[in-house]
């Protein structure tokens, strides 16, 4: 039973970060400007290899 409680807690933390904290952070002016700039240029900073870099 305890392991399911741990699993639920972990999922709740993930949900709180991804659906609450990160969207809030995405709207902070400095972050927003970085994200908008990358999106406009079609750059994917999470690209692992050169073939993935440009999304345009």
């Amino acid at each position: 039973m305890f392991r399911y409680l741990k699993f639920t807690l972990a999922c709740a933390i993930i949900a709180a970060i991804w659906l609450g904290a990160l969207p809030w952070l995405a709207d902070r002016p400095a972050m927003r400007s970085h994200i908008d700039s990358m999106q406009q240029q079609g750059i994917d900073p999470s690209a692992m290899y050169y073939t993935e870099v440009y999304e345009r």
Partner: protein, 477 residues
């Protein structure tokens, strides 16, 4: 065993290779599956694409524009801000046209399902055990992709492998990995198959486009930093695990996560070692991606020198472009160029590491030199598939502009996304097989962080010197 010991224990000695070749082991199956995927992708792209001449570029060359009919059936989820469902569609910023990404996600999953089910049949795995596990693996990989698509995560270079690991770790360390998933949680197999696909992206023809300045910065700095950092770890820090030492050295000096995966497979690094190296690299990359362009601007450094410096030092390819773009268009091009050359070095580095490992590292102390026959017997076979794919597609792309465009489309529209799914499946598997308590000593070990920090400091120095020689002493006209 103390935490320090646990984190520095060398990888287990390789299992002696059987006398007869086992054509259906993980290595060879990765070669067959990777080869099959590449053949299907190449001929599929040829059959279902339209080719037309584009607008002449500034050099007067007319590029061939390929519209690949298979493109919309292969892909992954996109970015989103507050609603993960938005990750299943993409909005064009200029035209505001919305395109669904669901067919690409479904197509990729269905294709991989068919290919890996075929592999399970060939290897005599019971389908009743493999199929439910593989479907669950695909769903977990999809969840990892969705986590990695959140805007802040994506645009600050926190790559999907980290979230694939997290998804697996949460399950294995809370409810435990269900027994029915385990038959499909074969991380090494997915990594090796993904690396064969990556081989097709290592195109040597790209080097010619890049010029001697880029080659000077990349091809001189990278081997110097890689070898020096490895020697530093072995001789000064006395790290007990040479494979951990090598994976950290490679991801820091070559090109981040992709280099860590390739060299980790070549030297049979433990999953905890690969995880440590990748986590270290991503953490430092985020910091460098933000601070290095700011430092270059603040110091008044020549932008071209700064761009070459960024290209030579920031681990991750995407982060290099993001940082380079902050210095301007020309700087972005230079940074990308330098990183591309390092990307292509993955092939040479992995091959060299595999040969070095079977020749020297795996040899018992005091044992006589290993002969060619023994090297061949121990050599990881999937590296042959990786090298063959690189060589073959480099040759095909060199035929003419049409073939170059065809190979380019095959990679960008099909195989790079399939390779991404395979790496994502691999890291979900690694997470499912890993215990937090086994991982903790690696992060608590001061030697790994010292190795990275000292190696990166040396990399910054060497790359800056070469960038200054190539772009500062002889400015571009």
């Amino acid at each position: 065993m103390s935490t320090q010991d646990a984190a520095t224990t060398p990888s287990p000695a390789p299992t002696p290779a059987p006398k007869g070749e086992n054509w259906f082991n993980d290595d060879w199956m990765a070669v067959w599956l990777g080869g099959l995927i590449l053949v299907l992708a190449f001929f599929g792209s040829f059959k279902f694409s339209t080719f037309k001449k584009g607008e002449p570029d500034k050099d007067g060359k007319t590029p061939i524009v390929v519209s690949n009919g298979l493109k919309s059936y292969v892909g992954k989820t996109g970015d989103w801000k507050s609603n993960p469902v938005d990750g299943f569609s993409k909005t064009d910023k200029k035209t505001q046209k919305v395109t669904s990404l669901a067919p690409g996600v479904l197509g990729s999953c269905a294709f991989l399902f068919v290919i890996f089910t075929l592999a399970a049949i060939v290897r005599g795995q019971p389908l009743s055990k493999f199929v439910p596990g593989f479907v669950a693996m695909l769903l977990l990989a999809l969840l990892a992709y969705l986590l990695s698509g959140q805007e802040v995560i994506k645009y600050y270079n926190l790559e999907y492998v980290l979230w694939a690991l997290l998804v697996g770790l949460i399950i294995s360390n809370t409810i435990g990995t269900p027994a029915w998933i385990k038959p499909a949680a074969n991380g090494e197999f997915y990594i090796k198959t993904g690396l064969v696909l990556l081989g097709a992206e290592v195109l040597f023809g790209e080097l010619i486009k890049l010029g001697p300045r880029g080659i000077l910065v990349s091809w001189v700095a990278t081997p110097i930093v890689l070898i020096t950092t490895f020697i530093f770890g072995q001789r000064i820090l006395r790290m007990k695990s040479p494979s951990l030492n090598m994976v950290i050295s490679a991801d820091m000096s070559v090109c981040g996560v992709s280099a860590a995966i390739a060299t980790g497979a070549a030297c049979r690094a433990k999953k905890e070692e690969l995880t440590t190296a990748i986590s270290l690299s991503l953490a430092f990359t985020v910091v460098m991606m933000i601070l290095q362009p700011q430092f270059i601007k603040w110091s008044g450094m020549n932008e071209n020198v700064g761009a070459a410096w960024i290209g030579g030092t920031i681990d991750s390819t995407g982060a290099v472009v993001a940082a380079g773009s902050l210095l301007g268009d020309e700087a972005e091009k230079i940074a990308v160029t330098i990183k591309m050359i390092q990307n292509i070095l993955i092939g040479v580095v992995s091959l060299a590491v595999a040969i070095y490992w079977v020749s020297y590292v795996d040899r018992a102390p005091g044992a006589p030199a290993v002969g060619v026959g023994e090297i061949w017997r121990r050599f990881p076979r999937f590296i042959l598939g990786f090298a063959a794919a690189s060589l073959l597609f480099s040759i095909v792309a060199s035929f003419d502009d049409f073939h170059a465009a065809l190979v380019g489309s095959m990679i960008k529209d099909i195989t790079k996304d399939l390779r991404g799914w395979l790496f994502c499946l691999a890291f979900v598997s690694i997470g499912l097989e890993t215990n937090f308590f086994e991982l903790a000593p690696y992060f608590a070990n001061w030697k790994t962080v010292t190795l990275y920090v000292v190696g990166q400091a040396f990399n910054l120095l060497v790359s800056f010197t070469l960038a200054y020689i190539a772009f500062g002493l002889y400015p571009m006209t």
